[in-house]
Structure formats: C-alpha cells, structure tokens
Symmetry: C2
Subunit: 236 residues, 2 copies
C-alpha cells in the first residue's frame, strides 16, 4: 500500500499550481500592487459567508495577504459550530487595504460591541475597499458605514434588515452591489460571486476566471442575477 | 449609535430560525434517526472542499452531529492558509456514521501517513456513508476504499488521479457520483451540490431545498451536470 501512495504522490508533486502561478498569468492589470485583506470574524458568523470568499481570495497568491481578525486572536466558532482561527485581535491588527465582513446570526456580537464597532468604523474609513456578505451589510449599516451608499443584503431577512437602516440606498434584486469603494453581497453563497468580481477588479478577469474554473465554481458574473429576491419576495 | 444597535438586534432576535427548525418541517423522512459525521482535515486541505459541505450539513440541525478529526486535535491549516480546528485526533474520535474526506494539495499528508490511512480504511469500512470532495477521492482510492466502486474526482487533474487508481470505476462527466454507500464529488465547489444530495437522501428534499434557498445557493440537482469535464477535457 505504501508504494501505491508514493507513486500517486510523486505524480502529483510535479503538477502543483498555486495561486501565485495563476495570478502571474494575467496581463491586464497592474502587477505590482499588493493588498492586505482583513476578514472580520465573531462568534456565530455564518461559516460560508467567510469561507466562500476566503477560498477565492485565498487562491489569488502572493499579491494578496489575508488576515483574520476578531476581538481576540485564536479560535472563533461559526454559527455552524465549525471554528476558524483569528490571526489578530482588533488591537494588533495590521493596516488593511480591504475589509470583508461576513454575516450570521452572531452579528449582534459585533453591533452590541462598542469596541468592535469603533474599530470597524475606523478601519472601514481607511480601507480602499469595504466588502460584506449577507447580513454583514447590517453590521456595516449599524456603524453608519453604508450611509448614502447603494448596498444589498440577504433576501430572506431583507425587510427587517433594510427597515432598520433607512440611510442606506438598498437594492433588492442584486447578487451583489458595487458602489465603488463599498461592495456588498446578497446572502451566504452570493459572497463567492462578489469575491470573484472583486478579484476581477483588482487582479484581472483572467485570474478570476482561472480561480472559478479550478474550483469548479459556476461564477454568476451578472450582478443583477438574483432568483432569491423573487423567491423570498414576501420579505421585500 | 447604541440604541440603533439595540433596535436592530431586538428585531432580529425574534426571527432566528436554526437548522433544527428547518429539519423539523420535513415529513418525508424518518425523523428519529440521528447521525454523526466526521470531516477529516489535514495540513493543506482545500478550504472550500471542507467548508462548503460544512455550511450545508451544519444547517441540518439536531439530527446531525458534526465533528472534525485530524492527526491531532487543534488548529489545522488549509491550502489557503486559513485554519480550522479539529475536535478530535484519530485516536479519540467517536464512532462515525458518515465520513467526509476533502481534497487539496496537502493530500500527501494523508496518503503518506500510515496511521492516518489505517484509521481511514477502518472507519470507512464501518461507516454507513463514505463521501469525498475533489481529490479526496484520491485519498480514498489510495486506501483501496474505492476498489470496484463508481466514483469521480476533480476534472483539472482527472487523468493523473484516475491513472494511478485503476481499480476504481471512474466517471468523467459527473458533478458527483452516488454509488450507494460511497458518494464522491468533482472539484471543490461540487462538494456543495453533493452535500445537498446527501442531505436530501438522509433528511428529505424539503430540508435540502430549504438549506439551499436560505444560503442563496443555486443547487445543481442533476449529478450529470458538469461543464468542467468539457472545460478540462485535455485532462481526461
């Protein structure tokens, strides 16, 4: 059995293509600029809200450093109980070019936490891009970060979320909304499509397409594609 | 700002629907049977191979207990560097009804590890269902677990993976292959569709559909849907 393992392992070793190699093929974009993205995690975050984007961004390669940040560095449990590990606390988190805020039923652990919200408002103001998935936009809205901006959120709780944040120019039928510096997505899985859109903006279409194809993900490239807006229309 | 948080939080609190509530609505399936699923993680596992299924299975609720198992309990880094946390080591992992094996370039950390493979072969033999995502099927094949079974794997490395495991009845064009006790999926994102299929088998179609709709995931219900087989046809 051991020999069999060795043969397979040897064959595969030659073929390893990492994210950097994929990114290096793209000719359409500035190859020099590097980014650091901070993904905010909190107890009860929706697992795929963070992990879908992290799969896509995590395959970009050397031009994108990703850090996870939470109230304390260390394990953080999702709403699905599966844990991730925060690299930094709010206090020691390095500067961020991109901020990504997932949603989840644990969003109250952010919006009721004055220290966390103060950190988020400060970092969002300094970042080049502020992004959210699902009711992550509710967290941004609670900090006033979306005031005057076009934004979206998940469709199953749309009425409730948007009804409590009147200063935002909410868009109902949208997989994601790109308002320039602020990019928000609809519920959970929509964060994957938004992430590929952001990768396309920053690193070029070829890189985004290659990541989607290698991960066998059917990328919805049209930001207005949103069957879930109709499906959950009673929540409009 | 604090009052604003409280209003939003209060409004949301009444609406929390957890996985158990979703699962309880389904009338089509045996409501009594509970399952324990073990997700095997190893250094260099592909993040979404594990986290896509964990999002879907993690929303089933009380009838499905999920544990993460690795060589040692504690943090385990994915190929995308983002960490998860294993609940159990191979030694102290409880009995498993369902085994799920993700893939990733770190698969050699499984197939070169005799202790890990012995554990996997033993647990796979005892489990009611054995599932894999992406080149997780390569790990199962290396243990002889797929001998004589119909199975699939990712399409970008199809030729290499299948060429080294001739005892398996490989299926090229398939999002996933359900061979009864063994269910294997194509690359990365395909694990989400396979998971919804397994949830449908064990917990009913209504539960699977509700989870897909709440997570705004466009579920590919047809196991033969596989544009990536054609896209990576040179690797057949």
């Amino acid at each position: 059995m051991n020999n069999r393992y060795k043969v397979i392992a040897g064959l595969m070793a030659a073929l390893i293509i990492n994210g950097s190699a994929v990114a290096a093929k793209d000719e359409a974009v500035d190859k020099n600029k590097k980014y650091r993205m901070g993904v905010v995690v909190f107890e009860g975050f929706e697992l795929l809200d963070a992990m879908g984007p992290l799969e896509m961004f995590g395959n970009v390669g050397a031009r994108l450093e990703i850090v996870l940040v939470a109230e304390k560095a260390g394990p953080v449990a999702s709403a699905q109980k599966v844990k991730t590990v925060a690299d930094y606390s709010f206090e020691d988190c390095p500067e961020l070019d991109i901020v990504l805020v997932p949603g989840g039923f644990g969003y109250t652990n952010m919006i009721r936490n004055e220290k966390a919200m103060k950190w988020l408002v400060d970092r969002a103001a300094k970042a080049e891009l502020v992004t959210s998935v699902c009711n992550g936009s509710q967290i941004l809205a609670a900090g006033g970060i979306l005031d005057g901006a076009k934004a979206t959120t998940n469709k199953a709780y749309y009425k409730m979320i948007t009804g409590s944040a009147k200063e935002v120019d909410w868009v109902h039928e949208a997989r994601w909304v790109d308002d320039g510096r602020i990019i928000t997505s609809s519920g959970v899985s929509a964060g994957i499509d938004m992430s590929l859109h952001v990768i396309q903006r920053l690193f070029g279409e070829e890189t985004a397409t290659q990541i989607a194809n290698m991960t066998e993900y059917e990328w919805h490239r049209d930001s207005t594609w949103d069957p879930f807006a109709k499906m959950h229309a009673s929540q409009k």
